[in-house]
């Protein structure tokens, strides 16, 4: 065998690498990745939030698989979660990680989304990055809603009942949609089986597909610089190498996120309420998780102004319009420079934050 010029005689390791490289084009990929750079400026710290979101998603996958080993969808759902939480060694910990990682993933996702928004990273050519991101947000909320039912305690029962009731108020498709989701006239173990299928197979497949596109697009286009950086001449802009300079920082953030998750889980392990009872009245002060609070408050306000199905329909319609507006921001702010359109996008972003914060705070104060 020919001897390598730079490394001296071929060792087992270099020979094995060559063997793999010839078949898997490792050095081509390594060459591509070694050229990747990340812009370095005073807003660079926002770049970590996508990776943090991904870290929590990976935790979701791992702890989800572990929970699957003991969880029983159907009539035994509550009992199996009770067993995991209170009897199994470290069951509380695995379930706690899954619970808190879901919450933190949504939080990181929101931070990531708004930082991307205000850095105008949705601008040409990154529109599809934005659109796949909006889809990832919706899928994540789908995960949150479907996973919430699975312990089948009082709270999850009513949360699902309310959520499906909202869906039912949609004209034409609403009743059919709710009936299909419920699998009956009430939320029963048949509903659990459906939500379970959605939660562990359908949504994971979809999220993996869309996430792959999202990540490939980031590899293709790289991190966007905010307009203040773009305005600088090329030789004034700083960059660092993705490998290993940025990656090491990225990993540090992942570990910090992971440590924070573990800390929260140990300090506040999630509990289990009483088993779901369709004949029991809804508990006082029942309310959704924080990420659904703004929508909940919006529905409540509209329900007071316009009681009945019409109010529900209009509020759902308005929320759908807001979401659509959020999604088409890259088409509104499409000139790539400052101006009326860019300003409009800024107002949309600021208004969204104000509405979300005010409604959420209002909802908590009204409990």
């Amino acid at each position: 065998m020919a001897k390598s010029k730079s490394l001296g005689p071929d060792t087992m390791g270099t020979r094995f690498y060559k063997w793999l490289d010839e078949r898997l084009a490792l050095s081509t990929m390594a060459g591509f990745l070694s050229k990747k750079t990340v812009p370095q400026h005073k807003h660079s710290h926002w770049y970590y939030w996508g990776g943090i979101t991904l870290t929590f998603l990976i935790v979701q996958f791992i702890t989800g698989i572990l929970l699957l080993i003991y969880y029983k969808p159907g009539p035994d759902a509550f009992e199996s979660v009770r067993f995991i939480t209170y009897e199994l060694e470290f069951g509380w910990f695995i379930r706690g990680l899954h619970h808190w990682s879901a919450n933190l993933m949504l939080l990181a996702l929101f931070i990531h989304m708004f930082s991307v928004f205000f850095m105008r990273a949705y601008r040409r050519p990154r529109e599809f990055g934005w659109w796949t991101g909006v889809l990832l947000l919706l899928i994540t909320l789908g995960f949150a809603f479907s996973g919430y039912l699975l312990p089948f305690d009082e709270l999850s029962y009513f949360a699902t009942k309310i959520g499906l009731d909202v869906a039912e108020s949609l004209p034409l498709i609403g009743p059919a949609l709710a009936a299909i989701a419920r699998g009956g006239t009430d939320v029963t173990y048949l509903t659990i089986q459906r939500f379970f299928t959605l939660h562990i197979i359908v949504l994971p497949l979809i999220i993996l597909g869309i996430l792959t596109i999202h990540l490939v697009l980031i590899l293709k286009h790289g991190n966007a610089s905010p307009p203040s950086e773009e305005a600088k001449p090329k030789n004034k802009r700083k960059e660092i190498k993705f490998f290993w300079d940025f990656f090491v920082k990225d990993i540090t953030m992942w570990l910090l996120a992971l440590n924070f998750l573990i800390l929260v889980t140990i300090l506040f392990p999630p509990q289990l309420g009483s088993p779901a009872d369709p004949l029991a009245p809804a508990p006082e002060g029942i309310h959704p998780e924080w990420y659904f609070m703004s929508q909940y408050q919006f529905l409540k306000i509209f329900g007071n102004i316009l009681p009945g199905a019409i109010g529900e329909f209009i509020s759902i319609g308005l929320m759908a319009c807001a979401l659509l507006l959020w999604a088409i921001v890259p088409l509104i702010d499409n000139t790539g420079k400052a101006g009326k359109r860019a300003k409009a996008a800024t107002y949309i972003g600021l208004l969204s934050i104000v509405i979300l914060v005010v409604l959420t705070a209002w909802a908590y104060l009204a409990i």
Binding site: L66, I69, L88, E89, F90, G91, F93, I94, L255
Partner: protein
Amino acid sequence: MPDKTKKTVSTDPGNREDKVNVTRRKFIRAGMGAAGVAYAAALGYPVYRYLADPAEKAAAQAAETEKELVGADTLPQGSAMIFRFGGQPALLIHHEDGSWVSFSAVCTHLACTVEFQKKEKRIHCACHGGTYDMYTGKNISGPPPKPLTPFKVEVLDGKVKIARA
């Protein structure tokens, strides 16, 4: 990798610094590696306990050395029953001649559950055709490497007591 031995004999002060750096880098690398292993172990332990817990509880349950089979004393002559003993299936046979025997029903070959065959006068494993003597549990033919584990049988009024020998 720079050659370390060459650097130690070099008189160039820059090189001496290099040597220090290499050692420090090695030290930090080893430290990071150790911290990484410790972190992984700290996360791996709860996962291991989470997965191993039921198996250990089952093993603790399986440690039973005695069992009473209520009503088994009425088992007709020339017939057998399977019951769970120490987490595994076991066989109780009431022979035609009135004698009682009990064995582990787990084939010593590859752990299939064996069956008492009255007509053939043997204990048989359907998986790979192993046969055992129906009185002693001794392996007679086929792949089983050793006899079935025998248990002590005590027939009392209204029940049969099984115990590990």
